[in-house]
């Protein structure tokens, strides 16, 4: 049995089933939509267990059991904390779910503060003002100076638009208006890139249907 050929037919059927929604809602689309949910969730579970639970918990525990080294027993703590998630299924014990949630949120918040500070605040600020060192050194062309000033003006005006602690009147209003202009350019770029990304995906699917499935194009 040629599994590759069957795979192409299955993929083509599912692709056409999903595109059929462009005409109207129909049983083929609903079938593919529900299958997509089930398969995606199943895939996510398998991957998270094999990439998280197995290497970081079950493997060390198994080594502890087989070799007798006690270090792996510490993995029982996060396993027990993780099992507390299932307290959600018992109305009387549902409050226990707060423990794993609090740990994950505390962990996420703690890890976010230094990383966001470093990557998003310091690096972005440095990237914005770094060209001025080149201006001071006299190594930047006239156009480069214009771009450096444009960058700083754009950042300040965009931040001003999101600054709600003062009323947007007078000079603040004008800075805010310039900020809106920069934001519109940013959104326009994002929109253009998104459209092109989706169209590229569409071309890839049509290429699959006409090439791999129907063999009309090589």
């Amino acid at each position: 049995m040629d599994w590759n050929l069957i795979g192409i037919w299955v993929a083509a059927f599912l692709t056409l089933s999903i595109y059929s929604v462009l005409y109207r809602d129909n049983p083929f689309y609903r079938f593919a939509e529900h299958l997509f949910v089930g398969v995606s969730v199943g895939y996510g579970i398998v991957l998270s267990i094999y990439q998280g639970l197995v290497p970081f918990a079950l493997k060390p525990l198994w080594e502890t059991v087989t070799t007798g080294a006690p270090e792996g027993f510490i993995k029982l703590i996060p396993i027990c904390i993780g099992l507390l998630f299932f307290a959600r299924l018992s109305p009387r014990h549902t409050w226990l779910i707060r423990y794993p949630i609090a740990i994950l949120i505390g962990f996420g918040s703690g890890i976010a503060i230094p990383n966001v500070l470093r990557a998003n605040i310091f690096e972005q600020t440095r990237g914005t003002i770094a060209p001025f060192a080149e201006i001071a050194a006299g190594t930047l062309s006239g156009w480069g100076i214009f771009e450096a000033i444009l960058m700083v003006v754009g950042v300040i005006c965009t931040l001003t638009y999101f600054f709600f602690s003062v009323e947007h009147r007078g000079p603040v209003k004008w800075l805010s208006k310039v900020g809106i202009a920069f934001l519109m350019i940013g959104f326009g770029s994002a929109f253009g890139n998104t459209v092109m990304g989706r169209v590229a995906l569409l071309i890839q699917r049509v290429d699959f249907l006409l090439g791999d499935w129907l063999n009309i194009i090589s």
Binding site: V37, V39, V41, I45, P78, M151
Partner: protein, 207 residues
């Protein structure tokens, strides 16, 4: 026990993660790596709980015979097949890879490509240049799109591609930096509020 212990746990884990990232000592780094592995162990349990909730929702749909209840069996079929093959034969198994390549991946790409059609109607609404700001959005999007396709460069002698790159590297980047700086300051302040127990909405209602 019900509210104070989670607040203490959140504080301890939050502070531990902050300090361990600033300290290069081997003990501190050991704690950092151990806690990261704990988060990776706890995470899958949340996903399994979410799946249990999904199963409960679809079981209720079947029991109540709500509209299109028959398709809930399709959800179960996809879920059970993927989990059984993946769990018993590992994710590297050819059958699991086949299901991923020929069932999940095509549907994933097709679902996202559907947006190409819907975005056309959104573009019609967005591109009606009624104000100065809408015109800016329209012109930028057109330049970015033209700079992305060969015909745009053919018609403009590569000017579209150069203009696109300049827009992405300058006004677009400055707007993005403004947004990133604002969002990051918000993330930091919210994280501090959570660690200090000022923000407690994640604990939910009740006692």
């Amino acid at each position: 026990m019900k509210r104070q212990v989670p607040l203490v746990l959140c504080f301890v884990f939050g502070i531990a993660m902050i300090f361990t990232q600033f300290s290069p000592h081997s003990f501190s780094q050991g704690i950092y790596e151990e806690v990261i592995s704990w988060a990776l162990i706890i995470g899958p349990f949340a996903l399994v709980l979410a799946t249990v909730t999904l199963i409960q929702t679809h079981t209720a749909r079947i029991r109540r015979r709500t509209e299109h209840w028959q398709y809930s069996f399709v959800v179960f079929a996809g879920l059970i097949v993927m989990v059984l093959i993946g769990m018993f034969f590992k994710p590297q198994n050819p059958m699991f890879v086949w299901l991923y390549n020929n069932v999940q991946l095509p549907m994933d790409a097709t679902m996202f490509s559907l947006l190409a059609f819907f975005i056309a109607s959104a573009a019609y609404r967005a591109f009606r240049a009624r104000t100065f700001e809408a015109s800016l959005l329209l012109i930028t999007a057109l330049i970015v799109m033209m700079g992305n396709v060969p015909i745009g460069n053919l018609l403009s002698n590569d000017t579209a591609s150069e203009a696109r790159q300049w827009i992405l590297d300058n006004p677009n980047l400055s707007a993005r930096r403004g947004i990133i700086l604002g969002v990051s300051l918000g993330v930091i302040s919210q994280s501090i509020r959570i660690i200090l127990g000022i923000e407690r909405s994640y604990l939910g209602g009740g006692d």
